[in-house]
Structure formats: structure tokens, C-alpha cells
């Protein structure tokens, strides 16, 4: 559903139901009261008009969560989060947005411009409001164009038999599919944050690609328009049947307005025989200021199950945002000959902290996995690659290749590589390579002597360092991701 319509409908719905539930009617404060308890979960479920089983599922997850403790093993530090001091349900827009681009933070606009984002999308991303019944102040046709483009996309997908809709819609429209797969890859009780997400998720996508269908388009193209709707507790479920394939991109290179500090998403992928899923992420949430104030805590659980023989799941991520990132997209390689891939670029600058990596669990015979992780640290940031490769006794002929490269910019940042290798099969072959390098003065001077500014030089060198990962991204995003890397590292040298 196009962003604008969806937002409008959601707002309308809230307008009707607020009174009924006796919550604050102040339009600017259209949200549940602070705190988390069973009533809040019931409220979320009923606002989403969910069936009973979904509510039961949420409540069970909530019980599990209550008995759990926040994980402490990651190499990140942050003040304690008071989970009762947050709103778990809010209208899509708490405060009125800016009325035109003139009111938007010029710093944000400067970044959009550098990324080459068209004007109408800038307005959308910055949350510029369109007064009711009035024409959009900028590029009105362009906005409505993208809406109609989205509708066309939707039709193309329907004709191919692909289901692609908000998860809350799928719960109502395709309950059998959702029930069959939800929580089967990431059980609610998997970890503290997945339990929390399972109890309170409100946004996210559902994708189902039926047997033998190659999804006729990159779901990225569509998602780009919808990107604004990514929520605090996102829940995504992608199921790809035998011989089918899909490429999905989440996120956006542009930094987005978001007042929620805690993000705890769960993404589950299921691939059957000969199916393939390519999941790409560009994450650029607010990282906090130069002094480490503010910024998003991004605690994500992403996991894919290669259930079928010769199935393939490929994760590609470019992580530049958030104050804290805690994220390990993983593959469970169950089907014989299945393939898992993880390509990652993680950039930290200023006071950002990232603890990210992957888990490749080899269960089936002749399963293969590849891990290419590029870590770039600048400023006073700290970045850890944490990766697990586990080969179970039955996984004869399993192979893994891991390459972890760290690039340091300046001498106040940190980079750490923590590989865990557990092999319970004699026939498995596991290779691990790791390098740490610095952008040298020689390299910078060489580039500057050729006329490049220091920033362009850093951008060029960093993009060179990340090339093996960036080439895995869908074309149109690879170009933006390159620019994004450079922008993220601005002011990190000199």
C-alpha cells in the first residue's frame, strides 16, 4: 500500500477508535499510555483488528519476555532502558510534521541532496505534511506518480501470485500462512528482544512467493516508496516456496525522522527446495550527535531457514546509522546442499557502537556458507564483528569461508573480530581470514596530489575496501550506498 494512503487510513482509524478505548483524545498525543502490560498488548491487537490466536501468541511472548533478562554479552554499553517508560502504541505521527521543506532541518536536506534523492521523496522522508484538500507544495505530480507506480507494482505482483503486504494485513487476510510460519525461524523466546518484538510488533511486511515463481521485480523498488513506514518493532516474514525466488530490500539511505529510541525488529526468512532469497539492508537511522547524545538503539534479530535442498539465503547489509547496533543475520542450513551468504559493511563514527556479524549453522550435508564482513571504524567509535560457524555432526562436506576486514580511520577508534568456530564433523572445511588496516597518510596524500579533496579520498578508499560487499547490492542502491559511506565518514579525518 502506498505510504500516503496507508498513513492517512491509519490516522483515520485511530481517530475513530481512540474515544472508544478511552485514551487521550488530544490529537497530538494519540498514543497508548506509557508502559507495557497485558492490557497494552490487548489494545495493540484490537487496534490491529487481529484474530484471537494472534493475541494469544502475543500474550505468550509477553510472558516469556517477562521472565527474561536483557543480554549483556555484546560489546556495547548504554544506560539501562526503562521498558515501562515507553509508549508501545502510537499514531504514525505524534507531532505535526513540517509544513514544507523550508521548515525541515537544513542539515537533513543537505544530506538528501548529497544522496541525490529527488525533491518529492525528500518531502516524504522528512515527513512534510500535506494539508487536507490542498495540493502538495512541491512536485505534486511526482508524489502522485510514485503512488500510482506503487499501485502498478502491486498489480504486477498479484498477477504473478506474489503476496506482498503489511504484516498486520497478512494476519487478517492470510492467517493460515502466517500461523504456519510466524515464529518458526525466530521463536518468541529466542532472545530478550525477539520476545519483546513478538509481544508488541505493529509494523512490517509479509512476502509469499508461490512455487516456481520468480518474483517479477525487486521488492526494493516498491519498498523505497514505503520506507517511511518502518516502525519501532518491525516484524517481517518472507516465505519462498520450491523453485521460487525473491530479492527484498529494506531501509533507505536517507536518514529519517524518528523519535523512537529503541528499535527491535525481527525478520524471518523461509526458503524451500531450490528457492532463493536475497535480503538487502541499508540502515541509516539517527546515530546521535558528535558527542554521543541521542541516537537509535538498533537491536535486531534476523534469521533465515534454508529448509529445502539447494535453497539459498543471502544477506547483504550496509549499516551506517544508529547509536548502537546489535545484529546477527543468520542462516540455518538444513536442506542438503543449501547455501548461506552474509555480506556486510558496518561503519561507525563519532561515538557509535556496533556489535554485528552472523551465524551460519550447518545442519545438512554439503551445505556451504560465505561470510564477507567489512568493518570501518572512525572517530571514537567501537565496532565488533562477532561470527559463529557451527557444523553439526550430520553436515558432512560442509564448507565455510570467512573473510573479516577492518579499516581504522584515526587512532581513537576500536575494531574487534570475535570468530566462534564449532565443528562437530571431521569432513567440514572451514577457512577464516582476517585483516586490519588503516587508511594511510600515503594513500590520502597520493589522492590529494591528484586533485581529490580529503573527503573524496576517504570515500574512494572506503568504497574500494567495501567493493566485494557493495557489488552484492541491487544496482540502484549500490550507487546510493557508496555516497552514504562517504557522508557517514565526513569529518573523520584531518
Amino acid at each position: 500500500m502506498p505510504a500516503v494512503t496507508q498513513t492517512r487510513e491509519a490516522v483515520e482509524k485511530l481517530g475513530q477508535s481512540t474515544y472508544k478505548w478511552g485514551f487521550e483524545t488530544d490529537i497530538e498525543m494519540d498514543m497508548a499510555p506509557k508502559g507495557l502490560n497485558e492490557d497494552i498488548i490487548r489494545l495493540i491487537s484490537s487496534r490491529k483488528e487481529e484474530p484471537e490466536w494472534m493475541l494469544e501468541w502475543r500474550l505468550a511472548a509477553y510472558k516469556t519476555w517477562q521472565a527474561m533478562e536483557e543480554p549483556k554479552w555484546a560489546k556495547v554499553a548504554f544506560p539501562p532502558i526503562d521498558y515501562q517508560d515507553a509508549h508501545y502504541y502510537a499514531a504514525p505521527r505524534k507531532k505535526p510534521g513540517p509544513k514544507s521543506l523550508d521548515e525541515v532541518d537544513p542539515e537533513l536536506l543537505r544530506t538528501y541532496e548529497k544522496l541525490g534523492i529527488p525533491l518529492h521523496e525528500q518531502a516524504l522522508l522528512a515527513g512534510v505534511e500535506v494539508p487536507e484538500g490542498e495540493r502538495m507544495p512541491v512536485a505534486v505530480d511526482a508524489v502522485f506518480d510514485s503512488v500510482s507506480v506503487a499501485t502498478t507494482f502491486r498489480k504486477t505482483l498479484e498477477e504473478a501470485g506474489v503476496i506482498f503486504c503489511p504484516i498486520s494485513e497478512a494476519v487478517k487476510e492470510h492467517p493460515d500462512l502466517v500461523r504456519k510460519y510466524l515464529g518458526t525461524v525466530v521463536p518468541a523466546g529466542d532472545n530478550f528482544f525477539s520476545a519483546l518484538n513478538s509481544a508488541v510488533f505493529t509494523d512490517g511486511s509479509f512476502v509469499y512467493v508461490p512455487k516456481g515463481v520468480r518474483c517479477p521485480m525487486e521488492l526494493s523498488t516498491y519498498f523505497r516508496i514505503n520506507a517511511k513506514n518502518t516502525g519501532q518493532f518491525e516484524r517481517t516474514l518472507i516465505v519462498v516456496e520450491e523453485g521460487a525466488s525473491v530479492s527484498y530490500l529494506e531501509g533507505c539511505t536517507a536518514p529519517m525522522r524518528d523519535e523512537n529510541q529503541l528499535h527491535a525488529a525481527v525478520v524471518e526468512l523461509v526458503a524451500m527446495d531450490d528457492a532463493s532469497i536475497k535480503y538487502s539492508t541499508v540502515q541509516n537511522w539517527y546515530p546521535g550527535d558528535e558527542n554521543g547524545r541521542g541516537g537509535i538503539y538498533n537491536f535486531v534479530t534476523k534469521r533465515g531457514a534454508c529448509r529445502g535442498a539447494r535453497s539459498k539465503i543471502s544477506w547483504t547489509q550496509v549499516e551506517t546509522g544508529s547509536a548502537i547496533t546489535w545484529k546477527y543475520p543468520s542462516c540455518i542450513l538444513q536442506g542438503e546442499g543449501s547455501v548461506g551468504e552474509f555480506y556486510s559493511v558496518a561503519v561507525t563514527n563519532n561515538h557509535q557502537q556496533a556489535d554485528t556479524g552472523t551465524k551460519m549453522i550447518h545442519l545438512g550435508r554439503n551445505t556451504r556458507s560465505t561470510i564477507i564482513a567489512k568493518t570501518i571504524s572512525a572517530g571514537r567509535s567501537d565496532s565488533t564483528y562477532r561470527g559463529l560457524v557451527r557444523v553439526q555432526p550430520k553436515a558432512s562436506g560442509a564448507r565455510n569461508f570467512t573473510q573479516c576486514d577492518s579499516l581504522l580511520i584515526g587512532d581513537q577508534c576500536g575494531a574487534h573480530t570475535v570468530p566462534y568456530i564449532e565443528s562437530r564433523n571431521m569432513n567440514a572445511r572451514i577457512e577464516h581470514e582476517a585483516t586490519t588496516s588503516k587508511i594511510s597518510e600515503d594513500q590520502l596524500f597520493y589522492c590529494r596530489q591528484r586533485g581529490l579533496s580529503e573527503e573524496d579520498a576517504v570515500g574512494l578508499i572506503v568504497n574500494g575496501f567495501c567493493r566485494d560487499v557493495l557489488k552484492e547490492l541491487p544496482m540502484e542502491f549500490a550507487v546510493e550506498a557508496q555516497k552514504l559511506l562517504q557522508i557517514s565518514l565526513e569529518g573523520s579525518v584531518g
Binding site: S440, E441, D442, Q443, F445, Y446, C447, R448, Q449, R450, G451, L452, S453, E454, D456, L460, I461, N463, G464, F465, C466, R467, D468
Partner: protein, 256 residues
């Protein structure tokens, strides 16, 4: 009238393990437009340091003296501003840039200086055409443009790549720091021709070399001998031939 390049009393030092080490001890040198000058001198005399200081490498601290380029204070400019103003340095040891495609690097550089010089940027097609022609003129294999900058290049390939960059960036003043060392006779000729193609009344060069061979092709205007951070002797092209036959020792003893 202000010279094209005018260096006077230039002193520079470096911080080596916490100790200030004086390297340039009063270099005087002026190069008029259109001329090719040569610096010879024993290893460690400061030739590369002079080229780095002229190109703006920050590790070297200029403690005295001046350098002007077209009457502008060269020492006050950033390295990239010097490049845009027309200064090019062919490095004695070219630097590797892993993962950075050579053609992409060259185009970024060419467009950066074009922008700074108020010229239109080149699109990918126009640039590639130009780069391929220039590479061919230097007898470089076509795949050199696709490879990563200097990564896995042989010594000779690196030197040719420097000359390729020089050709594309169209400097008005080029410093070639031992660009001839490690080249076989054929490569030497190709590199020399590359420099000669740039020769014009508005183009000057400062060539650092130990060998007469390169000079046979380049036909320089002046020869300078550097020792212990100073130009100790200057002369015509015959001076280079003399050094080539007799070595530096005699000249060093004469001035000492």
C-alpha cells in the same frame, strides 16, 4: 617578472621518533616556463623531500624560505589546490589503493581538477575514450585501466601508470621523482615520449634522476646537483654527462 616556479632559501624538517630532523637546508631554485630542469644527487640528499614539500605533504614542516608558483604562495595551498593549479608529482614509489578501480580513480581525479579549473566534467564515455588512447600511447595493456590502482602492478607498470595520470591531468608543472628507475630501455623511451608530448612553452618539469639515459630523450635545459639538503652546483646538460661518467664524489669534494 616573477618566475614560473621560484624556490628560495627553503628549509624543511621532519619529526622522526620525536626528534626534529633537518632535511632541506636552504634550497634555491627557479624554473622558467617551458624548461625542463634536472636534479641529481646522492641518495638521501633530500630530492624526494623537496618534491613532497612542493606537493604539500604535511609531515614535512617548512621552517624557512618561500616557494611561489605563478606568483602564488605555493606553501599556503592545500595539496589538492596545488594539483588544481597545475602541479603534478610522479611518485618515486606509487601508492596502492586496494579495491579502487584505476579508471574510476583517474576519472574522479580528472573531474576534480577540471571542476577546480572551471572546466566541464567529463562523462564516463568521453573519459574512457581519452584514457584508452593515452594508455595506448604509453603501450599499457588495456586491462590496466580495469585493475585496482597500482595493486599488483610491476615496478615498470606503476611508473607508466604515473605517466598516464600525468597525461590525463595535464599539469603545467610536473615533478618526476626517479620515474626512470627500474625501467628497461624500451619502457624508458616510452615514458620519455610521454613527457615530451606535454612539452610546451607553458609547461615545465623538474626531473629527478640518476641516469643520463633518460636525459638523452628529454633534452633538459639545466642540471642541478643536490647534496645534504642544498643545491650545490648547477650547469648545462653537459654536467649530467660528467656525473654519469665520474660519479658524485668529485663534485661533492669540490664544494666541501
Amino acid at each position: 617578472m616573477s618566475q614560473f616556479l621560484e624556490i628560495s632559501g627553503l628549509c624543511a624538517q621532519i619529526d622522526a621518533d620525536g626528534q626534529k630532523k633537518q632535511i632541506l637546508r636552504g634550497v634555491d631554485l627557479s624554473i622558467p616556463p617551458g624548461e625542463v630542469h634536472v636534479i641529481m644527487g646522492p641518495n638521501g640528499s633530500g630530492k624526494s623531500t623537496l618534491s613532497y614539500v612542493l606537493a604539500g605533504r604535511e609531515e614535512y614542516e617548512v621552517t624557512a624560505g618561500t616557494a611561489t608558483f605563478h606568483g602564488q604562495d605555493l606553501l599556503a595551498m592545500e595539496p589538492e589546490e596545488r594539483a588544481a593549479a597545475g602541479l603534478f608529482l610522479a611518485f618515486q614509489s606509487p601508492i596502492e589503493l586496494p579495491g579502487v578501480n584505476n579508471a574510476n580513480f583517474l576519472r574522479t581525479a580528472v573531474n576534480a581538477v577540471r571542476r577546480a579549473r572551471g572546466q566541464d566534467e567529463l562523462d564516463a564515455v568521453a573519459f574512457l575514450k581519452m584514457a584508452r588512447e593515452a594508455a595506448k600511447a604509453l603501450s599499457m595493456a588495456p586491462d590496466m585501466l580495469k585493475r585496482n590502482v597500482n595493486v599488483g602492478f610491476s615496478g615498470g607498470e606503476k611508473k607508466r601508470n604515473e605517466v598516464l595520470q600525468m597525461t590525463l591531468l595535464q599539469p603545467t608543472f610536473a615533478i618526476l621523482d626517479e620515474t626512470d628507475s627500474g625501467l628497461d630501455v624500451d619502457a624508458l623511451r616510452i615514458v620519455a615520449e610521454g613527457v615530451n608530448r606535454l612539452r610546451a612553452p607553458t609547461f615545465s618539469a623538474l626531473v629527478i634522476t640518476h641516469h643520463q639515459k633518460l636525459l638523452d630523450y628529454l633534452v633538459p635545459d639545466r642540471i642541478h646537483v643536490m647534496a645534504r639538503g642544498r643545491i650545490i652546483l648547477s650547469g648545462g646538460p653537459e654536467l649530467a654527462r660528467q656525473i654519469d661518467q665520474e660519479g658524485y664524489t668529485k663534485f661533492l669534494a669540490e664544494v666541501a
